[in-house]
Amino acid sequence: MGNLVKVLFFFLLTTHLWSKELTIGSKAFSESIILSEMLAQVLEENYNYKINRKMNLGGTKVLFDALDGGDIDLYPDYTGTGYIMLLKMQGETDPQAVYDIVKKEYENRFGITWSPSLGFNNTYAIAVRENDPRFKEIKTISDIIPIANKLRFVAAHESMERKDGYKAFKEFYKIPFDDNKAKGVDSGLMYSAIRDDHADMIMSYSTDGRIKAYNLKILEDDKKFFPPYYAAFLVKEKTLEDHPALVEIFELFDDFISEEEMIEMNDLVDRAKREPKNIAHNFLVQKGIIKGKIKKPQLSKGFIAYTLSKKNYLLKITKEHLLLSFGALFLALLVSIPTGVALTRFPKLSKLVFPIINTVQTIPSLALLGFLIPLMGIGYLPAVIALFLYSLLPLIRNTYSGIEGVNSNYIEASRGLGLTPMQILFKVEIPLAMPIILAGVRTASVIVIGTATLAALVGAGGLGEPIFRGVATVNGNLILLGAIPSAILAIVVDKFWEVLEKKLVSPGIRL
């Protein structure tokens, strides 16, 4: 028996060793995607690996949980992020010291290690418009104190919460910002916000290409508030042992990218709308890491040409979206209709069940996804479960009230005629409740198809993927590529139920 287990274990271990397959994740902004692409391409080109890409996942927590739970094997993060957000430490600002601390702590606590630093520091930087007359004489952060209460401060949501974010920054420098004028937005949107004068000051990332592109000026961190944010890859120590190729690549990538180079690459993606994949490829070719030709920029395309060029991708994400939506809806129908019927039979139970599903409905969808990741990892499953939970309420509620609302005269007549309770349910109650049940199905469909766009944040793909990528990389075509089909889908599905309603609802009660 013991031998069998050993053999089995050895078999599992070795198949794992031989399977040259890794899953790489990234956060939802250009730099993270570019870095993940570089690692992926070197593994593919030089080591013959098969790489699953899970790009554009939600924030640090989603990625860390995914790595910890084994849904992804690697992703790029920043030393400062680990130091402050995950380890909840603060005080140290020396780059090497911070790197050493996070590496040691991650290894001890989670069995996860950090690759050597990739070379550049993407810390936070306070940016203002170069041409804003109020900042003409201002060079350092301390200089803004006299005018601070009039300034509209905008930062990414994450930065509003972090220990080195807005609140700590304000306190550290003793800047009298007006909290009512401080807003958190998606990180991709804060740059257009300041460019278009919807913000006076943003907490930018120091390597973001848009600082140069939008003529922003960085104020000097004169009191050294922001900790170092050197980029590196996170990987489980076990994975590193199993894949010697990673060790080689990490050595190659040690101090590999300068701040200027990173800014340049980010700018190419964010402003010139180049593909992160191609930019990563070109950089690796220029550095002589992989063989191949430099990919030239394609002429910028109109939306229709763009969409046509992305036909296969669109097909793939539409399919994912439909699988997500209908998978969830199908599951929900399977559960809700019997539940709704059962609740009409046991009225006491309905007093217990409705408050629960009402509460589930009020949990914001992103928060629900956040709760589900530690339980189910990332990908299709948590997304389907979240969508399933959202469609329960309209389905159960409408089934219940539809059947409750059937006139007791019809039930009495059917009983008197000699129908069994089951026959009454299927031949009388459900057909009479059908218009209301179907109204619930239509509501649930619209909710599910709309909410399914958020599935992209947990790596489940779907039409939300280009929307988030588009927002992250300031690419309007990409946003529309997801937004238009998902709107069309919602309308088509609604029409589908309308047609089905004509078939399923008797003309006798449609009048």
């Binding site: 005269n409 009495e412 008197g416 005629l417 000699g418 129908l419 006798g508 009660i509 009048l511």
Partner: protein, 243 residues
Amino acid sequence: MISVKNLSKIYEPDGFIAVNHIDFEIPTGSIACIIGTSGCGKTTTLKMLNRLVEPSTGEIRVNNELAITYDPVEWRRKIGYVIQKAGLLPHMTVRENITLLSRILKRDKKHIVEKSNELLNMIGMDPNTFADRYPIELSGGQQQRVGIARALMEDPPILLMDEPFGALDPITRNSMHEELMYMNEKLHKTIVIVTHDMEEAFKLGNQVMLMNKGEIIQMGNEKDFKENPKNQFVEDFVSGQLG
């Protein structure tokens, strides 16, 4: 023939006695009317006959078959039942309503069509015109006729009617009275009608049962009630001061 002995209904938990140990017999082919004020127990009595309400005591026989020996659903299928406003199922056509039970019982399809046509003709509604209409497209009188046709589809020996003409206007009600009596001369069903209209009861009933507080106060025909009222209550009821 319907025979009822010692029938009562006591509702728990408060012990309300809706029907209090009553006995009666209704001969085959005759019409009996149960009459009384609201809450007198007349509808409960009717519903115990087809076991929509289970009796607390007593026994019910139809043509010598004991109700309690049957499954309630099986028992109901042997008894026609017509309620106020007909209770036609709005999502089914006239024909679907009439043939619902026969279809559930998987009767021969040809028989179902022929029998439903025969019934529609009998109630004066041309099958070609009315079979595919929905209840909402019918007048109150037409709906009630279809309700009767539905109750007769499986040819039950007895027919129970719970205030069947209560919601109709006086002219329609009168003509439906005539139709029912004419119909039963041919069909020879045993019919029990619950009503609160004394005139209707005397007109239709070979036998009238006046109930009060769960008991049958007097049983007989119009002549018995008018010439020999059993007590002051009966006298008041007949003269129209009650009810």
